[in-house]
Structure formats: structure tokens, C-alpha cells
Amino acid sequence: MSKTTAKRARHAWLLATAAATMALSLTPASAQSVTLDFWDMMWGGAEYPVAAQALVDRYNAEHPDVKVVYRSVPWTNWYETFVTAIASGSAPDLSTGAGFQAVQLYDQGAILPIDDLVAGMDQNDFVPGALDALKYDGHYVGLPWAVDVRVLFYRKDVLEAAGVAVPTTWQDMRDAAKALTKDDHYGLVSSGDPGGMHWILTSAINNGGGLFDDAGKAAITGERSMEALQFLADFAADGTVNPASAGYVNDDARGAFFRGEAGFLLNGPLLPDQAGDVKDQIGIVPPLKGPHGDVGTVYWVNNVMVYNQTEHPKETMEFLAWWSDNALTLWTDGHSGNLPARKSIASNPYFQDNANVKYIMDTYLPIAKTMAATVGGTFPALNEIDGDGFLMSLMQAIWQGQPIDGPAATAQAHLEEILAN
């Protein structure tokens, strides 16, 4: 090839490349869409992620310039899932998560506050306390979307067959469990995973105690909390808790309860709606009175949080606002196991015509406290406490029938270590 020919070929190649580059850069803006990654925890059964995906599809159809990619995240090892994603720079744009996740991740520099979004919403539409539960360091670190409260359920048919009345006090509960335990059926069934650990929180708060004292110091070995642990240990000593409980996960415990193998189960507020054929056989135990006359239970304000790593904060906030306004189908179609944090959604006949839900909203929610009971407020360590396994280990030890002093002291030391860090 002559020099001239080679030069012409080179010029032609350069021109073609430049033309292609210009063509790409002049692509109409409407063909460039923003992609958002939305990670959503499993808030219900198999139908939940289907309903959530459908809601995302609706948003995508209404907003062609934004594409939200939905991903369902299991609860197993949820804490590690988000920690590794953030640490590796692959966090989503927004996600739902555990009750205190946004607070702790904000403290680690991973969360984008949503103050402007909250300012633009009707703050009175949120159930009392929900927004405050997500206010930390002067900022709103997450938007409440659901309230998860622990409720004690019973099997109407099982209690009726045994001639046992619905308990109203701790002693009644213990006696009822004894009366129901026979022929491989037990008074109550639980699990060794977070679902089982909630017995500790619920009972401690029920008795006017909790994980902390008024000064915010660890109080697992405090008087009221130890009474609560002993209350649980008494079930194990009586043999009235299913012996497999320490090794069960929440689904195992629910399965045993739905099969009628236990009389009582502590679970989320919409358990009956997830029970299929036995829905009508499930009743709600009125809040039990502790030995000092206290009532109470634990609850979490579950929320949606936005990550600092998002490249599209404006679009993310817009999607979040839309998701919050249109979340009703997560319950009507998805059968989410929580209660809505928005009054406008809670006023829907789906909830108001549901006697169980109405009862829980009127009776359990007013007496519910978060894990920060007695000290109040919210702080990052609560998420570590929620995700760490030490309370699960304590619960497993109790369900195994171990004396509570040793395991309680170990849990106390562990909690002190977390608070010290």
C-alpha cells in the first residue's frame, strides 16, 4: 500500500470513528433512562415479592424515563448482606430493612438523609411515633412504611378442645400451657432464630423491663428482665414448649402452630391472614399482665432508606415518595405481615374490616415499645443488637432448659461490650 493510500485509509477510519461518536452523543434524551436498584426484604409469604414486583412494574410503566430494578432479599443473614454491599461499593439506591438499620448505617456514613422528602409529605399521616423513631442526629434517616408488632396468638380449637380459657396473666399462660401439653402437642412453639428471640424482648417489655435501664446501661440482668427470662425458662422447665424450638426457624414454628401442634405462638400482626385454611381458628390473646400488672410488647418501625452511593438521588426520592403513597397492594395482594405506617393506608377497608387487625391496632400498638424501651429514642447500637446473634443464643439456651443465670450473664456482658464500642 502506498503512503498516500495508507494516509487516506487512516483519515477515513478517523472520520468514521468521529461520526459514530457524534451519533451516539446525539442520542435523544428520552432514550436514556435512569436505572435504580431497589432491594426489598421478604415482608410476607411467596406472594409478597410478586406483588412488590408488580408495583415496581407499575411505576416503571408510569415513568418511562426511570427503570426500577426490584430485588427480593431474604432475612437470613440480612445484616451481612447490606454490610458487604456497602463495603464493596455495590449498595442499592434504596432498600427496605430492619427497624434500626438506617440509623446504624447512617452512623457509618452510608445513608442519605431524606429531610426534604419528609418535609414535602403530610407528616400527620404517619402513625404516632413512627417518624420520630427514624430521626437521628437531627435528620430523618428513613421513611416509615410499616409497623411490625409482636402479638401472642392462640389456637381457638386447641384451647376449646382442652377446656382451657384464654389467659390474661403470666400465671394463666403458664397454667394454660401445662394443660395443653400432651401427646406430642405443646403449650407453645417457638424458634431459635430472630423470631424466637422476640420472646425475650416482648416478655421483658411486658414486665416493665427491657434491654436497658433508664440511664441507657445494659439491663438484661436487671430485676424485671430476669423475671421475664425466668417466665420463659419456666415453660422449658414445665416441658410445655416444643423441644425442637431451639433448632427451629420461624417458618418451622409457624408450620407447627398452623398444624395445631401448639396452643400459643408469638408472631407478626397479620399471622392469621397468612394461615390459609386455619385462619378462623386463630385468636389473639389480650395483652398479658405481668406479675407487677404491666402490659407491653415490642415493635419496630420498618422503613425505606436511601444510600449515599446512589447516583440518582432525585429520582430515588421521587420513587420513594411514590412507593410510600401506593403501597396498599403490598398488603391486599402481597399479604405483608406488618401493619401500615401511613394512616391513609390503614384506613382502607382491607384493614378496618379485618377484626384482628383492628384489635391489634387498638389494643397492642398503644402499649408497644421499641427495643430501646425504658431509655427511649433511637441509636446505632440497636441495629447491631438486632442483628447480632447473642440474644438468639440466650433464647436457645432458655428453650434448651438451661438455668438462666449463666446465659443471661453472658448476654449482659455481650450487650455491655456492644454499648462500650
Binding site: 451481612e80 454490610v83 463495603a87 431459635g192 423441644p243 425442637a244 431451639a246 427451629y248 447491631e384
Partner: protein, 304 residues
């Protein structure tokens, strides 16, 4: 002496460098380079970074300040560490003894001319081949509660159900048995290869001397497979101490931390407690213990 290399008065390193640049050195270096780079990126760099983390007090999301050896001191003062170390030692010892005896017994059987030997060899490899997630979840299903398969068999014979995953002792037992089940195929295969390499004339000589089958086994077979046995036990120790899958997938280190080994403890520190310093310190203490064991066993092997 070649004048090309005879640089009287030139530094020795320059001569060496020239030798290294010769084609017979360059080609192997180029061929080894990708593996070395991969090892540096995947092994060396994370190791150095992990060592650095072990001297800090931060999390994976937020690096902390240097705190010297305080993570190590705190770890050695923590009962959870000693409990995990104890369980790791028991786990490793039981697995080595169990899978060695089982593997050796099966290897000796596989040497015999029995019908279907080829099929048995394949079937016996299955526990090793099946992915751990699949096999351990299946085991969990078989032992989880009173309706599980094992308990159905137990109750069929008139026994009472055993709550394997709710009782600490049984959970430890099940973890060890599952690990032996997963490990024996490798042991069996390696020992079979070692047995097949033993010179047959040694057995003939023993037979001529009137040795019984047990005497032949003890005085011929065992010494011949001693070296490979030490190496296999060493490998199995390392793999067992570093096993995360079995205790985690079965019981998440429970119940009540009964099956929490050093690796699970390191995982919990790093991810559940957001303390990468303590997690890294746990990992490096595990590494130091294993290195000491390797050193000791290799010395033993050299002596034999």
C-alpha cells in the same frame, strides 16, 4: 571461561541478572506470571489487608484507627474465643480420626476384587462431590425435628425423638458426623492410591516369613502409607478448622453457640458485630495455630 560472562571486576548481581535474562529463565517466568499475579491479587493482597485490619478498630464500612495488639489481647481474654477454639479442636480431631479410619477401611475393601467395585467407588465419592449447600440442607431436613426422617426411623423402632439441633451435645455430634461423611471420600481415594503403590513383593516376603494378615497390615501396610497419612491428616486438619459451611448451614453455630468454631466466630465479629478488627484477629490467630501444626507435622514426616 566464556568471555561473554567473564566480567572480571563486575558485581556478581549483574552477572546473575544477565543469567536471569537468558531465554531459559524468561520463558518459565512469563508462563508463571499469570499464576503469580493471581496469587498476589487473590491471596497475598487480602492477607496483607486482613493483617492491617486486625490492628484497627473499625468496620468494613468505616475504617478505624490503629490500636496495636489490643484486638489480639481482647480476643485471648474472651471466653467465646476459647470455647470456639475448643470446639474447633474437637471438631478437627474427631473428623480426622473418623474419616481416616472410615477412609482406610473402605480403601482396603476397594482393593479387593469384589463385584461392582467400580460402581461402589463412584457412589462412595458422592458425599464429596455434592455441593455443601445441597448436602447440608438435606441433612438438616433429615434431623430438624420430631417429624424428621431420622426421628421417624427412631420412633418406628420404639424410641423417643431426638431433637438433634435443639440440644447442644447432639448438635455437636451431628456436625461432626456430617463432616466425616463429607470428608471420607477424599481420604479413601488418596489412601487407595497409596495402597496400590505398595510393592507386592513386601507382602510376599511377609507371607514367606509366616506373618498373619494383621501382622502384614501393621508391619508392611501402615509404615508404607505413613508419610501420605501424615500429609492427609494435615490437609484434613486445615480443611476442618477452616470449615464454615457445616456448622453454619446446619445450625448457624448454635444452639447456644455450641457449634461455633473459630471461622464462625470470625464471621460473627466481622459481619454481625461490625468489628472487622476482631474478626481479622480471630482469623490470624487461627492461621498461626495452623501454621504451628503444619510445622510440627512436617517435622514429624521428615523424621519418619
Amino acid at each position: 571461561m566464556s568471555t561473554a560472562l567473564d566480567r572480571s571486576g563486575a558485581p556478581a548481581w549483574r552477572d546473575r541478572a544477565r543469567q536471569m535474562a537468558a531465554p531459559e529463565f524468561v520463558t518459565p517466568a512469563v508462563l508463571l506470571a499469570p499464576s503469580i499475579v493471581l496469587l498476589l491479587v487473590v491471596v497475598a493482597f487480602p492477607m496483607v489487608q486482613g493483617l492491617y485490619f486486625s490492628f484497627t478498630n473499625g468496620s468494613l464500612m468505616k475504617p478505624g484507627a490503629l490500636v496495636g495488639l489490643s484486638n489480639y489481647a481482647k480476643l485471648l481474654a474472651t471466653p467465646a474465643f476459647w470455647h470456639s477454639l475448643q470446639f474447633s479442636a474437637v471438631f478437627a480431631l474427631c473428623n480426622i480420626v473418623g474419616c481416616y479410619l472410615l477412609g482406610l477401611g473402605l480403601a482396603l475393601m476397594m482393593q479387593m476384587d469384589i463385584p461392582g467395585r467400580g460402581i461402589f467407588r463412584v457412589l462412595l465419592l458422592l458425599p464429596w462431590i455434592v455441593p455443601s449447600l445441597v448436602s447440608i440442607v438435606a441433612w438438616r431436613w433429615m434431623v430438624a425435628d420430631d417429624k424428621a426422617l431420622f426421628n421417624q426411623v427412631i420412633t418406628l423402632f420404639g424410641g423417643k425423638p431426638i431433637y438433634f439441633l435443639s440440644d447442644s451435645t447432639w448438635a455437636v455430634t451431628v456436625v461432626i458426623l456430617i463432616k466425616i461423611w463429607r470428608s471420607f471420600p477424599f481420604m479413601m481415594l488418596s489412601l487407595l492410591a497409596a495402597l496400590q503403590s505398595i510393592d507386592r513383593s513386601l507382602y510376599e516376603a511377609a507371607a514367606i516369613d509366616g506373618a498373619t494378615r494383621w501382622q502384614s497390615f501393621w508391619n508392611v501396610t501402615v509404615p508404607q502409607i505413613k508419610n501420605i497419612s501424615i500429609v492427609l491428616c494435615l490437609l484434613m486438619t486445615i480443611w476442618t478448622v477452616n470449615d464454615f459451611d457445616t456448622p453454619w448451614l446446619l445450625a448457624q453455630g448454635g444452639p447456644a453457640n455450641a457449634t461455633e468454631n473459630l471461622v464462625v466466630l470470625a464471621y460473627r465479629y466481622t459481619f454481625a458485630r461490625n468489628d472487622v478488627g476482631m474478626g481479622a484477629a480471630t482469623s490470624f490467630i487461627t492461621l498461626f495455630i495452623l501454621m504451628a501444626l503444619v510445622f510440627f507435622l512436617l517435622r514429624l514426616q521428615r523424621r519418619t
